[in-house]
Symmetry: C2
Subunit: 220 residues, 2 copies
DNA sequence: TAGATTGTTAATCGATTAACAATC
DNA sequence: TAGATTGTTAATCGATTAACAATC
C-alpha cells in the first residue's frame, strides 16, 4: 500500500459498515475471518474487501485471513474513534432528544457533553443525565470543554445562523439534520443528513417495482 | 434516451437533490434555468445534469434551458411522489415522534396515517392529530388503509420481528432506523438509515484534517 | 510441506466529463 | 438570423472485479 495516496470517499463510506460487521463477529466470539467469508456475509466481493483494507495497510495474513479483533480495532483507529470526540446537540426537540438517547454514538467513542436550546420550557430538563442549557452559555461551554462536533437539529430557518455561531465558537465538525445543503464561509467540516432524500429513493424503488409487476401482469 | 435501459442507483440518488434545488428555485420565482446555472449552484458539472435528466427523457429545450416548474414536476413524477404513498410509524419513541413531526415528508406526498407502539403509557397520545395505536391493531389497520410504507423506529432487538410482521401485513417498503442491515425473507423493499455511519464518516474527515494540520505545523 | 488466503497487479466495468452537432 | 444551450456520442477517469504470485 501507498500511505500517500488519498483514500476515496467510496472506500471511507464502507468503513463504518465493515466496523459494524466486525463488531457483530466479535460478539459472536469469532476469532478469525477470511475475506471470502466476510464477503458472503456482507454481500460484496472478497476482492473489494482486500482492496479496501489494503488502502490502509496489510491487516491480514496469507493462508489465515484476518484476526477479527485486530481488524476491528484498526478500522476504529482509521475512523478516529480513539480520539474521543466530544459532541453537543443544538436543538432539544424530538430529533435532538432521539440523538441524545442514541447510545450507539457513545459506544463508538463520541461523547455527548452538552445539549442546547432556547425555549424556556425545556431549559434545565435532563436528558440522559445532561441538563439542557440555554444557547447563551453555548460559546463559553464549547471553548471550555473543547467540543469538536455539533449536531444541529434546530428548525430549518435557524440552521445557517446556528451553524455559523458554532463554527465561530470553535466547533470543527457540523452534523446537519435540516433538509438543506448547509454552506458557511468557515473552515469547518459539514456532513448533511437528508432523511427525506432516503425516503424518496425508497419511493422510487417502490414505484419501479409496482410498474414492473403491472407490466408482467399485462403480459399474461 | 432509451426507456428500456436500467437507471443506475448513482443517478437515482441524485434525483432528490435536484428536486430540492428546483423547489428552492421555484420559491425564488425563477422560471427557467440552464444546466450550467444549476451546476454552479449545486457544485456539479452541467454535463452530469444533462446526462442524468436524459435518462428519463428530454425535459429541456436547446437555446433556452429547462423550465423550472416543468422539470420539478417531472422529477416528482419519476420519484413517484404523485402516488400518494401512505406511511405508518412503528415505535413512538423520540425518533418516531421526530419523524411524525417532520412535515417535509407530507410536502413530498408521503402521508402519515398511523403511529403504533406497545407501551401502555403512550397509547392514545396524540402526535400531530394522529392517535398512537397499539400494535394489536396494526395488521387490520394496514390492510384496511392500504398502507405502503412502514418507518421502523423500535429498539434494535425488536426490529427483525416487527419488520417481518409489517411485511406479512402487506407493507411494501420498510424504512429501517436500527443500526443493522435488515434482511427478511419477504418480497419487500428495504432502505436502511445508518445514522452512526454518517457520524463516523464525519469523524474520519475530522481526523484527516487534524492530521494534515499537524503535518503542516511540523514542516514549518 | 501442502493448502489456504492474502496483497497486489492487471482487466473490466461503469460513471463522469468533454465535445459538438442539432435545434430552439 | 445569430446566439445559446440542449441532447448525445466519444473520451476519460475512477472504482470494482479477476487473477495469481507471494507467503503464512
Amino acid at each position: 500500500m501507498n500511505p500517500k495516496k488519498k483514500i476515496s470517499m467510496a472506500v471511507v463510506k464502507r468503513l463504518p459498515r465493515y466496523y459494524r460487521y466486525l463488531s457483530d463477529l466479535l460478539k459472536l466470539g469469532i476469532i478469525r475471518i477470511s475475506s471470502k467469508e466476510l464477503s458472503d456475509r456482507m454481500g460484496i466481493t472478497s476482492s473489494q474487501i482486500r482492496q479496501d483494507l489494503n488502502c490502509f495497510g496489510g491487516f491480514g495474513q496469507q493462508g489465515y485471513g484476518y484476526n477479527v479483533e485486530i481488524l476491528y480495532n484498526e478500522i476504529g483507529k482509521i475512523l478516529g474513534l480513539g480520539n474521543n470526540y466530544k459532541t453537543v446537540i443544538i436543538g432539544a426537540g424530538n430529533m435532538g432528544q432521539a440523538l441524545a438517547n442514541y447510545t450507539n454514538f457513545e459506544k463508538r467513542g463520541y461523547k455527548l457533553v452538552g445539549i442546547f436550546d432556547v425555549r424556556p420550557e425545556i431549559i434545565g430538563k435532563k436528558i440522559r443525565d445532561i441538563e439542557v442549557m440555554h444557547m447563551d452559555e453555548f460559546d463559553d461551554f464549547v471553548k471550555k470543554n473543547k467540543v469538536h462536533i455539533a449536531m444541529i437539529t434546530v428548525p430549518y430557518e435557524k440552521t445557517p445562523e446556528v451553524a455559523t455561531r458554532a463554527a465561530r465558537a470553535g466547533i470543527k465538525g457540523l452534523w446537519n439534520f435540516s433538509p438543506m445543503d448547509l454552506k458557511i464561509p468557515y473552515d469547518v467540516i459539514i456532513e448533511n443528513v437528508h432523511l427525506s432524500d432516503g425516503l424518496m429513493v425508497l419511493g422510487y424503488r417502490l414505484n419501479e417495482k409496482l410498474r414492473e409487476q403491472k407490466e408482467n401482469k399485462e403480459k399474461n
